[in-house]
Symmetry: C2
Subunit: 141 residues, 2 copies
């Protein structure tokens, strides 16, 4: 189930549609944790550098799941635990996240590893293809 049907939206503008799903200061950090750092568990997201609060993390995981950006499964190695993974829709955020990273790199002081930035700048499409390929292989599971 998607979070909102078209007639529940403020408008059908594609930028608005994206912002109604992911427009807050936390959701895309969780997507980042999965996409670039291979994090899959609640505790891994909780311990990311930005110190997200537990209630915000729980809320955002639920919203991301409702919006079909991520999916939640029982950990096959420990049925008491859950693991979270990006869906196709979530992986498809890679080009946008790369442009966010490049904007910050051009306009702000950041801690981004220079090797990764260099690879993105040299061939953005190849970088995104690499992310998709790594997910297709299940390397980030």
């Amino acid at each position: 189930m998607k979070e909102k049907t078209p007639d529940m939206r403020r408008s059908g503008c594609p930028i608005n549609v994206m912002l109604e799903t992911l427009g807050d200061t936390w959701s895309l950090l969780i997507v980042r944790d999965m996409m670039f750092f291979g994090r899959t568990t609640y505790n891994e997201f909780l311990n990311a550098g930005e110190k997200i609060a537990t209630n915000i993390l729980s809320d955002r995981l639920q919203r991301l799941e409702c919006a079909e950006i991520i999916e939640k499964r029982r950990d096959p190695d420990d049925a008491r635990k859950f693991i979270y993974r990006l869906t196709e829709r979530g992986i498809d955020l890679a080009p946008m996240l790369v442009e966010m990273i490049l904007w910050s790199d051009r306009n702000e002081k950041t801690d981004a590893p220079s090797e990764a930035i260099k690879a993105m700048k040299k061939d953005r499409d190849a970088f995104v293809a690499g992310v998709r390929k790594s997910w297709a292989k299940g390397n980030q599971a």
Copy 2:
């Protein structure tokens, strides 16, 4: 003055840096209004399709100005009024906004004009270059 100095940030991750400046459901709609629709006044932003509330609009304009994404000037034709324009940092958001639009186009039902989407898909870099060129000429003033 930038909104936050590096040591005031939750982290120096480039995605986080961007989200601390623009991570909410409204700010990028104002950037969109300026970039793609040539809107420059408070009333034009207020009357955009998403029906932003006046207090939110005032707050976001101020935050965008502090973050040097937009600048506010007296209208040369009417000194009682203000006009808002994107700065270089603001115009530089074009590649990211294009990827947001393309994500929504691929994954959601939107009202985006198909001609614009077609142009972005055909040659994203040329589309972004066109936006930059139009701003350099001052066509969107």
